[in-house]
Amino acid sequence: MSESSPSFLERHQFVIYRLFSLSGLIPVGAFLAVHLLTNASILAGDDGRTFQSRVDMIHSLGPLLVPVEWAFIFLPMLFHAAVGFVIIANGLPNVGSYAYVGNVRYTLQRATGMIAFAFIVWHIMQLHWLGKPFGGGKFDPHQAASTAATALQPTLTSILYTIGILSTVFHFSNGLWTLGITWGLWTSPAAMRRANVVSIVVGLGLAAAGLGALGGFRSLDVSKAREAEVWTEKQKRALSVPGGAVAPSPIPASTH
């Protein structure tokens, strides 16, 4: 059965599982929160100007953005997903026999983890420049609001985004609660209940931000947003890229 010497994963199971737990909060969960709150700025009602300025802030990292993305977002996420699939494969959900709230959450945590993984892969392919070879990569940081809004217009896309956002947010906020137990932050049933309230509030807040952003993009007036972006682009050119701001788009501003 297990006569072969234990694998690397087996010998370092404790450390790997703890890093898995931690990575769900830092950096993956922290990124999720920042990402959803940034997107929610589309609700400012200024044709995406606030959102564009937030995007500019992120892209002010310039060429550093790529290693930062890989080190703090993609690789931790891949690690979390890989270990997560091992954990899912080793468990045997039994919510049919024991329909306790905790057990339902255990099962949902695994289901939403898998949904979130599929959604995030698709989301990256659809909007991030990594998806360009596959006909995706529709998001243009110079035309942040209008390109995002255009990509999110199809009804099916919106439905899938709603499922994806809710799954991801549930997975994060429920994971926040279990992380506290795993590391021994909250140990008594009463403390777990209090932490649960906090996790639910965090979850509802992020769900509101995520779904609000989705609604904001869908109801955005794309042509007005495009006008605003052209105007912003002209301003940047006129100011000849002040320190920290994004480089001007190579696309001539008069295309629209």
């Binding site: 199971q13 099962t107 945590q109 008594s188």
Partner: protein
């Protein structure tokens, strides 16, 4: 005294409900049987006469006495484990109507009120079946052995009296000491999955023993063992080997395997605060791992 007993019986009757009047005269049972370890399992139905205040053990006793299935065939009596008959020994765990619990404290009246006429009995699903409802819970005890769930007092000379334990510590520890190794927490745990080692023809008993032990150790150690580790790490004398317990709890199959489904605490017949123990062990493991990393 007799009067009190009578009224207690009335209470049970009341809980049973009179709408099951039709089921009153007989108790129908469906048992998942298995003749030998590793053999095929099959369902068999039984019917025994009803008596007030029956529990599942008394139903099984009647089945053994009549040794006939519902359709009148002569069959071997159903095998099961039991001992104390008062929910303190932990030996009669089985799946009753799909849920893990003690057969001795499962009252027929309540079972019929909950889920109708027929009672379903299955052996625990996380341990290898020996025969019918009897399972081999060796892995459960291996878990206790792994975390050294005892106070080390063996020695060649008198160690003298141990340190005093404050009433507060006693109150904290007492619920954990109520564990009777029934295995309900393991049966209900989605992270504790069955490990069944089968002896090979060319294998000696000792070799098989060794292989089985290491197979057990790859799986989750279980809530019961974690809670016992917490109990003995809180004991002033037991604490002397606290590091060895932490080492065991952070090895493969250790506390990290917990998935926080919290079924263990929900099904524990002794209402042991298992999730509190797991969280405390989690905290201890955090501290222990950091110490290991920085203090060496």
């Amino acid at each position: 005294m007799i009067k009190a007993a009578d009224s207690a019986a009335d209470l049970v009757h009341g809980a049973g409900g009179d709408d099951h009047g039709a089921a009153r005269s007989v108790v129908r049972v469906r048992v998942l049987r298995q003749d030998v370890a590793g053999g095929e399992s099959y369902w068999e139905r039984f019917e025994v006469s009803y008596e007030p205040n029956m529990n599942v053990i008394s139903v099984l006793q009647k089945i053994a006495a009549q040794a006939r299935s519902q359709d009148g065939r002569k069959v071997a009596p159903v095998a099961w484990d039991c001992n104390c008959l008062e929910e303190v020994c932990g030996s009669c765990t089985m799946l009753i109507n799909g849920r893990t619990r003690m057969a001795c404290s499962a009252l027929v009246d309540r079972l019929q009120a909950e889920s109708g006429d027929e009672i379903e009995l299955r052996p625990m699903s996380k341990f290898p079946v020996v025969r019918d409802l009897v399972v081999d819970r060796r892995r459960l005890f291996r878990g206790l052995e792994k975390v050294k769930a005892w106070v080390p007092v063996e020695g060649s000379y008198d160690l003298g009296p141990g340190p005093r334990i404050s009433p507060e510590e006693q109150e904290d520890a007492y619920p954990l000491s109520e564990c009777m190794s029934c295995g309900c927490c393991l049966e209900a745990c989605p992270q504790y999955t069955k490990v069944e080692a089968v002896r090979r023809d060319d294998e000696s008993e000792a070799d098989f023993e060794k292989r089985r032990k290491s197979a057990f150790d790859t799986g989750f150690v279980g809530a019961h063992a974690i809670s016992q580790a917490v109990l003995f790490n809180a004991h002033p004398t037991g604490r002397m080997i606290a590091d060895e317990r932490m080492e065991a709890l952070t090895r493969q199959g250790g506390i990290q395997m917990c998935g926080n489904a919290q079924n263990c605490v929900a099904v524990c017949p002794k209402r042991i605060p298992l999730t509190r123990s797991i969280a405390r062990a989690g905290r201890a493991a955090t501290v222990w791992a950091l110490k290991k990393l920085f203090d060496r």
